[in-house]
Symmetry: D3
Subunit: 170 residues, 6 copies
């Protein structure tokens, strides 16, 4: 049995993440999805809570009919203990999937196998692009799985993001 670990902030979970997970699911038996910066929400770059992100990812993955672990990971703000932190919050895994240079370096220093997943249509499958479309009224729905759009609608996520991105005159 072989488990892979994939981490992201998922603000929100989009088709780029989804295509990577489909790819990874062909290489390992089980996938652990770590939700990074889990403690932050209601900011312009991190609008959604960990619970909301779990609901998004869970909905998208359930459609695939596969078992996944979806685990919120609060920041620990000490890179030197971060790998231990992740390991203590997850079932054992053998391979890490990441393109983030810091994540790659930390797991490599810890002696783990790290693979770089392919990146799909990076110019639109991007949290930054999607959040900007949400604020400006563009078409973000086509960039995320349907189950994700459904969650964002239920929590009034676009309204929240627009409100908190207003200028503060205080």
């Amino acid at each position: 049995m072989r488990r892979g670990f994939y981490i992201g902030r998922f603000q929100p979970y989009h088709m780029g993440h989804h295509l990577v997970l489909e790819q990874i699911s062909r290489e390992v038996d089980e996938i652990i999805v770590g939700i990074g910066t889990a403690q932050i929400s209601h900011t312009v770059t991190d609008p959604f809570t960990a619970g909301e992100r779990i609901a998004m990812i869970y909905g998208a993955l359930r459609e695939l009919g596969r078992w996944f672990y979806i685990i919120p990971l609060p920041d620990i703000n000490r890179n030197a203990v971060w790998v231990s932190h992740v390991k203590s919050m997850t079932p054992p895994f053998e391979v890490v999937y990441s393109n983030n240079p810091l994540v790659v370096e930390l797991f490599m220093e810890a002696g783990m196998e790290v693979r770089r997943p392919p990146m799909y249509r990076r110019e639109v499958y991007s949290g930054t692009v999607i959040r900007r479309l949400m604020i400006e009224g563009g078409d973000w729905r086509q960039l995320v799985p349907d189950a994700v759009a459904k969650v964002i609608d239920e929590i009034k996520g676009v309204e929240r993001l627009r409100n908190i991105s207003k200028k503060d005159f205080a």
Copy 2:
């Protein structure tokens, strides 16, 4: 759609928990299992990491063929914000299942519906009893689902518990 929330420390997950979850699963559509005191491990009362507890519960629930959310919840050490903390880390839920007086009080003050699940064979389906059996070499395996015993064996959990429960002469 109706979700129920059930929280415990699960040190370890045992048949008492399992029977409650089977009961709850007949009352709601989806169950969120919160792993309390997620940040603590390697102590006599809390020997297992959150990741190890996730593996135990996941194994036991997968055998049931049902979807569950299993979410580690680190202590926040401020009861007055604890309900908000839980809500931010979980998908929305409508009913709480707990017999813990503090959990009941906090969710009641927050205006949530709280139900008391039945408790099964409390004299043996008990984390305290099971950990003592582990230390003393008793038969703890019959008190937990098979998938849980398998995880505890893989991580050498009994050996760990015995080691850390030795007297400190320092």
Copy 3:
């Protein structure tokens, strides 16, 4: 102008505290009341939130027609920086009133003047006694100022304390 500093947990604020503050108010121009362990609530020894304790003390002192500073002080869990912590959260003061050995030692080491206030009817003007009376249905109202009893009633404080002091069978 001369300010005095008086600290307590005030779980709840009672006539013993009140008599001390009346005494202190004859010695200094302004009194700063520090609410210790401000972050804790909903426990058997610390049932009330900082906000609830502020409301209690404020009500009791307003009846006296005097100006007071009432300042919540979260624990910092590092005694060596605690005096700096207190000073950073309060207007400047010249004298400390306390009978707590640790508070006395920390302010003495910091070179501050410390006075021991008289203690009144210690066998009943005591948070421990009052909380026990609340749980057991005894007459706690005569031991606190009227304004305090009013706040405790409004927040259903006795019911909360009784609920959280129930035995946990989980």
Copy 4:
């Protein structure tokens, strides 16, 4: 009885805040003034400690002859629990006064009534403007209540701000 909650960083408290509080005091019975980011001081944007800010505001409000609650609120760095955090540190309140988009959003999501107070002479009644005048030797005194200027002088606040705004050649 109706209480209003007004929050700011008050670095320093100025006439813009003061005019808002005068306005609010006509709408509610009691005002709770929350001092945000209470734990930070000695920086270019947040030069004053919570205790110093309490002294400033207290002095200004006492001149009005009204009762106010002035409560330091340390950051909790988790927006999703911030409203609970505020509520646990304050007496109960019914209406929030704020123009800060995040504060507005968080209290709105919590189902509270939020009002936008008028803003007065925003181009000069501004902490940023006042701190710049302090550094550059301009006339900041006319922009704050007399009691505030007195506190700033006593703590040598302008000297502190100038010192810490020097370039670091280290």
Copy 5:
């Protein structure tokens, strides 16, 4: 080059520690002394600050004419990341010396070599015994190196310990 790691709370550093370090110094080239629970002081079980403990140990070891690393280690309160925490605060080391069951278990799980140092006159070379002698006026000086007694006298350590061990009547 081979480094050994030895950890204790050193409240205070006594002849038992000293004899162990002399023993260890014959087995490795360099010794790293970790001061555990570095953030705590002014309590009955942990009266001395990390800085005071560094001064004690430094004085005792300098008399030996050997190079040592003396490193304060604040508690991190998460056993699962503790080894990473220690490693990030220390130069690389190859062998751990400890009789503490938890320390032994954590380093063993991390795959490190752990040795049990001999324990000398455990009935008197004991922090608990020495602190009790300090409180009761017994002869503690013969149980610590001279340099340690000198530091304790300079900081008035015995007076502090007696003061904070008084009963709290508050």
Copy 6:
């Protein structure tokens, strides 16, 4: 006996620091070197752990044949208690050496003597310059003591810094 306190982040320790310490060592009997921001590593501005920085400084100072205290100081993120924090982690000292405006201000407000050490060849004896040379493949070795270069090589510090400074396309 007179001790001086010198603080820096030492990312990495370089000849500028070394020349200052040589200068200070002529003015005081013992030097305490505080390693600031000790908890941070593996970032572009703070690549090295506290333990790695201790090894660097220790190696450089041992060549001088002098006794030094080298003490990691985690950030406390509350300037108003920072001086107390430093004092609790260090042996007593009488004079502070710093050119950092905030450090100077905080120790001055605490009534300590502060001296400004001379700065040597600031245009190259600079952590920023040295880290940029490391990334770009320039000659950084001549700017640090030999013992420091040796440690950086052993931990593959340049490779780490280059890896984590790559652009994140995630």
